[in-house]
């Protein structure tokens, strides 16, 4: 109990001290770096995951390949991947972005694919039957109907990226991982716990943002609990 209180005090002392909020070593700067790595990797992962997920889900071709690639990619340890890419490509932001993107593609790909494939065949048949082109079937019917799953995939990917972007600090880059890595090497637990707290809060905010987004863009007709009348 005392330990927990101590830790909370450490965190609050660290978070409230003014030096944390200014300069290149401050929280705002590190947060900005962290968000940049995360945002860029999520963007690339979404481009790859959505494109292939929609394509394979719509045509039904390559479903097995998608599942295999996604499962394989999931098994690769992110940290190992960063070390590997740094070794090969040298010390820069690129290996970190590649690793984070690789981490985020599988959940987006799999969920998008499942979402599109899960559209009721009768609905798809009706869409074609009333005269939609293949592109219209995808954009007007399959995507809106798959949206809950697509958003789930993006959310899982975003949270994983935000949490994992801390590895950027190992090859000497910035981001919120800096506090944790530096704190560990200096035995400065105030720094470690403070940095971790910011990462946790950020992940929670991502979660909240996606929940709000879902409410806005998913059709009420797709909510399971819609009342019969």
């Amino acid at each position: 109990m005392n330990d927990l209180l101590n830790q909370l005090r450490l965190v609050s002392d660290w978070l409230t001290s003014s030096q944390q909020w200014h300069g290149a070593e401050g929280i705002p700067q590190r947060l900005l770096e962290h968000l940049t790595y995360s945002g860029v990797s999520l963007l690339f992962a979404a481009l790859i995951g959505l494109t292939f997920g929609l394509l394979v889900g719509h045509t039904g071709r390559g479903a097995f390949a998608v599942a295999s690639v996604a499962n394989l990619a999931r098994a690769i340890p992110t940290f190992g991947l960063v070390v590997l890419v740094v070794t090969l490509a040298g010390l820069s932001t690129t290996p970190v972005l590649i690793a984070l993107t690789a981490l985020a593609v599988p959940p987006i790909l799999i969920n998008t694919f499942e979402g599109v494939r899960g559209v009721d065949p009768a609905t798809r048949d009706a869409a074609r039957g009333v005269g939609m082109t293949e592109w219209e079937v995808l954009v007007k019917v399959e995507v809106p109907m798959a949206l809950p799953l697509i958003l789930l995939g993006l959310r899982v990917a975003a949270i994983q990226i935000v949490a994992t972007a801390t590895v950027a600090a190992y090859p000497g880059l910035g981001g919120l991982g800096r506090f944790i890595v530096d704190g560990l090497s200096r035995n400065d637990y105030e720094l470690v716990i403070g940095g971790s707290t910011v990462v946790v809060v950020l992940a929670l905010l991502v979660q909240i943002a996606f929940t709000a987004l879902r409410r806005v863009i998913v059709s009420p007709g797709l909510r399971v609990s819609a009342s019969r009348s």
Binding site: A127, V130, M132, E136, V141, P144, S219
Partner: protein, 376 residues
Amino acid sequence: MIRFDAVSKNYPNGTTAVDELSLELAEGGITVLVGPSGCGKTTTLRMINRMVEPTAGTVSLRGQDIRDVHAPELRRGIGYVIQHAGLFPHRTILDNIATVPLLLGWSKKKARARAAELLELVGLPAEMATRYPNQLSGGQQQRVGVARALGADPPVLLMDEPFSAVDPIVRAELQAEFIRLQKELHKTIVFVTHDIDEAIKLGDNIAVFRTGGKLAQFDTPERLLAHPADDFVAGFVGQDRGIRRLSFVKAGEVPLREGPVLTTTTAVAQARATDEPWILVVDDARRPLGWVEAAAIPQGGTLADATLTPLGHTFSLVGDSARAALDAALLSPSRLAVGVDVDGAVIGVVDAYELSAVIAVAKAEAAAGTTDGGDA
């Protein structure tokens, strides 16, 4: 209007869904394709809007080979209704109905105004416009499916077992509504069902298919029942086709007798004086109230004091067929069917035995029709 020329559909695994079908469907009527499952009726239907492409032969619509028309464009000009309605769950009812007009590039405003019109046409209240499909019952969804198919007012409507997924009561309602709609719209309709009763009820012409995608007979319902082409068709239209034929005899042609009809103000004594086992009690406007058994008539007062046995149902001399009369007779406590006019006033009664004479007459007429009419 719609013409099949030696059309076949074979699948790579060797099955033949449709075998050398040649058929011409008239404009403005309902053609029902009926047969057991696996007989190729749905495949035949789906070849009309290119949802299935034939392996051989030509399908033409108004003289034009449908392969010359870009498939999505062809489909926008043909209404399509499927079994479970296949509504778009993420769109409101109004936007579901507006689908085809929007695909054709109408403005949102115009498309929605048209959709609102159609919502009313299929008998749904305007407040349903903003609901979503999962808030509607199966029967309501099917009505929306029909409205969506009518979106751009296509001359041709394809319906693939549209009423088979709803319960019998709703189905009868939808069928009646469908007949009413068709009287108003005069579309060329191709309708697939596995239910011969539905086929006889709705079809102007019926194409009976047998397993293996062969056309067994193409005829009017009357002639199909009277002269099945072979044992398969006879078996498919069923043992009770004699009773089904009553559907084509108008109730107005049924001979009625006056029967034991008395008003509520009749004195009991007078009622007892009749020799009938059952008496039909009517109000001042001769609308039937119920039956009373002679043995159960009270000792004094008027018939208003008597305990009435419910009627079952009556049949209308203007809208119903002799089949409704027979059904009414069988369900009536007195074994007498009550015939009423448009206002619901009793005209007379008939029993099942008397109705059987009507069947005999119809049968004789149908037989005469064969010798005179050739293959009309």
